[in-house]
């Protein structure tokens, strides 16, 4: 600080998405809850995949009629789907809950930049975690079922790579959905509750109703359309599933953006 100068000259340019993303990345990895949630996401998914796939092994050959080994290997993703949404929601709700939001919004006052930076960071992280998980799940499933009387199956088999990569992408989308719900709701408990209801309760309610609407809900799309190699007739195709999931994500993000830009912190 120099005496009698109001402030040093400002550098050129202006703050923007690049600076905001860097800050959001640093924020995400500087609190312990991020690491805990990631731990639960990864370990929960892998453990469930191992347990459920192990119980599917050791059957006589005839049992595997119509069996989808890729889909079986992805069974743990139900846990990952819940945990990644919690991670996403916390990205916003922890700021509103603690008052950090006021520091953040004075540092990045254009609220869309702020929102976009958070979504980019959490989206990229969720996508990376998702791909890592689905490939790990596939490898684990392959190892466990390899000792079963099942015919050999590989990533190069038709539809397998699409199912594995696609399932990873859905984890990225779910992370974004969780974050956008967090932005709209602001409270951790509320956001996680709504996210879990959207994921798990909605399909249960819809299966009780006529019209098989449950097949359009996110978790059913992931489990039966995207993560499936052996096509099941009652469910939407992988492509339609993707389009639907993307639409849900965009819609929830628009809702979150409307709240963040219009409602003062």
């Amino acid at each position: 600080m120099t005496a009698n100068t109001a402030a040093p000259a400002l550098p050129g340019g202006r703050y923007g998405l690049r600076q905001a993303c860097r800050a959001e990345r640093a924020k995400l990895f500087s609190i312990r809850s991020t690491w805990w949630t990631l731990f639960v996401t990864v370990v929960g998914t892998l453990v469930v995949t191992v347990l459920s796939t192990s119980s599917a092994a050791h059957h006589p050959r005839g049992w595997y009629q119509g069996f989808d080994p890729t889909n079986q290997s992805m069974s743990g993703l139900a846990i990952g789907a819940l945990a990644i949404g919690v991670l996403g929601a916390l990205v916003f709700t922890s700021e509103y809950g603690s008052g950090t939001i006021r520091s953040s919004m004075t540092a990045t006052p254009r609220r869309l930049s702020f929102l976009l930076a958070k979504l980019l960071v959490v989206g990229v992280l969720a996508l990376a975690v998702g791909e890592m998980l689905t490939f790990s799940c596939f490898a684990l499933g392959h190892a466990i079922l390899g000792s079963s009387p099942l015919p050999a199956w590989n990533l190069t088999d038709p539809g397998v790579l699409r199912a594995v990569v696609g399932s990873g992408v859905t984890i990225g989308l779910l992370g974004l959905m969780g974050a956008a719900i967090g932005a709209a709701v602001r409270r951790t408990a509320g956001a996680i509750g709504i996210y879990a209801a959207f994921l798990f309760l909605l399909p249960l309610l819809l299966t009780k109703m006529p019209g098989n609407l449950a097949r359009f809900t996110p978790l059913i799309i992931i489990a039966n359309s995207i993560a499936a190699v052996v096509r099941q007739g009652a469910f939407v195709s992988p492509l339609v599933g993707f389009v639907l999931l993307a639409c849900y994500t965009v819609a929830i993000i628009l809702l979150g953006a409307a709240v963040v830009t219009r409602r003062d912190p």
């Binding site: 600080m1 120099t2 005496a3 009698n4 100068t5 109001a6 402030a7 040093p8 400002l10 550098p11 340019g13 202006r14 703050y15 600076q19 905001a20 860097r22 800050a23 640093a26 924020k27 500087s30 609190i31 312990r32 809850s33 922890s94 700021e95 603690s98 008052g99 950090t100 939001i101 006021r102 520091s103 953040s104 919004m105 004075t106 540092a107 990045t108 006052p109 254009r110 003062d264 912190p265």
Partner: protein, 319 residues
């Protein structure tokens, strides 16, 4: 000197409650401007509107001629401590400041620097949730100073500080102003403002009451008085009135005389041969002036009509 904060017809309405009402004032560099008002008078909301956290219902709050959100590098132009808990409890002080630094391209060396300025070096790697209120205030101060800005806003910065901390804040604010920065600091503690501020913006119920210097504010409001305790109240009052002085009867049996020096009052008492138990010159404090002004709308209006430094506006808009 040109103003760096300029508040123009600023109004904020929450539902039916008008929290800030047609507020106009300027903050200039090189001095500490105190923002004084009772709790709930709209100080924090005004500051939040200047910082772009609350959207004004009408009017504008400009910093360096721009709305806050339009600044190129907000943290390098304006620093603010608006609330002592604006950090995540699980994040360390260093990480909190590091994240803020990234948003405005501030070098990390500056993070270490502000941590040492506010005296948090030893706890920089502790989680901020473990901090006392005073340490939280210091962390907030560090955040405000991070971008080395020319404009600084502090909302009740001495809350929760011990006497040493209060003195530290006072010196810091005065030092920042002496460096040519604009310092805008709110408080409900009049005594604190008397020690720290040069200029005063006084608000009550969201409306501007006075925009003046500390010295003029005290001189114009209340004025000095002489307090007299006597068993001959009636004779004394009559004598004072004959001599052209004004009298306030105070509940504790004493009499406050205005418009006369203590010497004149003493001579009057001698001439009238009165018994006096006590004769005390009372200097008007900023506090008295403040109480006088904010007591209610009617008193403030009548004061405003005779005293030029006072600004009468805004009360009409009250719900």
């Amino acid at each position: 000197m040109s103003s760096v904060i300029s508040v123009n017809s600023l109004t904020k309405q929450f539902g039916n409650a008008r929290v800030v009402s047609n507020l106009n004032f300027e903050v200039v560099p090189g001095v500490v401007t105190g923002f004084l008002g009772p709790n709930g008078s709209g100080k924090s909301t005004t500051m939040r509107m200047i910082m772009g956290l609350d959207t004004p219902t009408s009017g504008t709050a400009l910093v360096n001629g721009k709305r806050y959100a339009e600044l190129n590098w907000p943290l390098r132009e304006v620093g603010a401590l608006l609330d002592a808990k604006a950090f995540h409890p699980a994040r360390t002080a260093y990480d909190h400041l590091r994240c803020l630094a990234y948003t405005n391209g501030i070098p990390l060396a500056r993070v270490e620097e502000v941590i040492s300025i506010v005296g948090l070096t030893e706890v920089a790697n502790k989680r901020a949730g473990k901090f006392s209120l005073g340490m939280g205030q210091r962390l907030g101060m560090a955040g405000a100073l991070l971008g080395d800005p020319g404009v600084l806003l502090f909302d009740e910065p001495v809350n929760g500080l011990d006497p040493e901390g209060i003195r530290w804040v006072r010196n810091l604010l005065r030092g920042l102003a002496a460096e040519g920065r604009a310092v805008f600091v709110s408080s409900h503690l009049i005594s604190e403002m008397a020690l720290t501020a040069d200029r005063l913006v006084v608000i009550g119920r969201g409306a501007l009451i006075a925009d003046t210097t500390v010295r003029d504010f005290t001189a114009l409001n209340g004025g000095d008085a002489v307090r007299v305790v006597t068993p001959h109240v009636e004779r004394f009052v009559a004598a004072v009135r004959r001599a052209g002085g004004e009298v306030d009867l105070v509940p504790d049996e004493s009499v406050a005389v205005r418009g006369m020096t203590s010497a004149a009052v003493g001579e009057l008492i001698a001439r009238e041969c009165l018994v006096v138990h006590e004769l005390t010159p009372v200097r008007a404090s900023l506090e008295d002036a403040f109480m006088e002004l904010t007591r209610d709308a009617v008193e403030y209006r009548s004061a405003g009509s005779t005293q030029g430094a006072l600004v009468g506006s805004g009360r009409e808009g009250e719900p």
